[in-house]
Symmetry: C2
Subunit: 150 residues, 2 copies
DNA sequence: CTAACTGCAAATTCTTTGCATTAGT
DNA sequence: ACTAATGCAAAGAATTTGCAGTTAG
């Protein structure tokens, strides 16, 4: 596991209940390397827990996103994707390389230190200039992956 | 206008026709500072050109995006937004500050030079490492704007 | 002339909501 | 017990598609 995972107490401290669906969904997110959609989660979970409905997936994802325990992404294919945020997940800070042909996503962790440094500096400056309370950032590159190149 | 605008010849060179709807849509994009949705465009255009349908807007936007004359964004409110890409638009290189409360978007052009430098370096390195043909990048910050802060 | 383009209506796809039931605390 | 959370079915919203008529080159 590597990292502490206080999501249970976090939920409860905020007055939310600890339910099977939430447990299962978060567990799945913790064990996934992919950027999963609501439907992906549903299909996967459905094998073991056929009683859990798609609606619950959506509602849980919304809750978790609002609590900033997960991050919602749009990679341009019309469905939202989710991943645990850094504090709760098992992946380190990374950004995305999006293939616009096949919608494959590559997570890259290279060079992010340099990026992060610049980002933080920029955040401070923007925050001051626009009186904006920053809560997150996203960097992504789009292009064509090696398989789609020819 | 400030900048040359060769979109007509660009379309024609690719075998596409120069039609009223396309003319009108691009003209609107050139005169808009906002990040407009398909619906926004439709509503605006509809005043003067009630014969142009929403479907055509979508199809035109798809065409233009595919030709990289416009860029499609998702700011998290479930509808796509569009803006002319740098070569065809009237705005300089910028990034987005997205208020997650009211979905207001601030374009910032501050500090982008430094960013751009890093981005270009990163692009080169990623491109080599992952054998990925890069075509674009996006940086965005999310948070709460000054009006939504209290 | 003829293939690209368009508009309309219908279809699709993703996501949200209403409501009666279930289950945490 | 009390209320949040759930599942189902239905609704909603954004975007896409089929097709017959129109238009640019």
């Amino acid at each position: 596991m590597g990292k502490h995972c206080r999501w249970r107490e976090r939920l409860q401290n905020h007055g939310y209940r600890l339910t099977i669906p939430r447990e299962v969904i978060i567990e799945l997110l913790r064990n996934t390397k992919e950027h999963v959609s609501a439907e992906d989660i549903y299909m996967e979970i459905h094998k073991k827990y056929p009683a859990i409905g798609l609606t619950t997936i959506y509602r849980t994802l919304e809750l978790l996103a609002q609590m900033k325990m997960i991050v919602k992404f749009d990679f341009g294919d019309g469905r939202a994707r989710y991943e645990l945020s850094e504090e709760y997940g098992t992946k380190k800070h990374h950004h995305h390389l999006i293939c616009t042909k096949c919608t494959k996503i590559i997570d890259y962790t290279d060079f992010v230190d340099e990026e992060l440094e610049l980002i933080e500096k920029t955040e401070k400056r923007l925050s001051k200039k626009y009186n904006f309370q920053l809560s997150g950032h996203a960097i992504s590159f789009t292009g064509t992956c090696k398989d789609c190149k020819e």
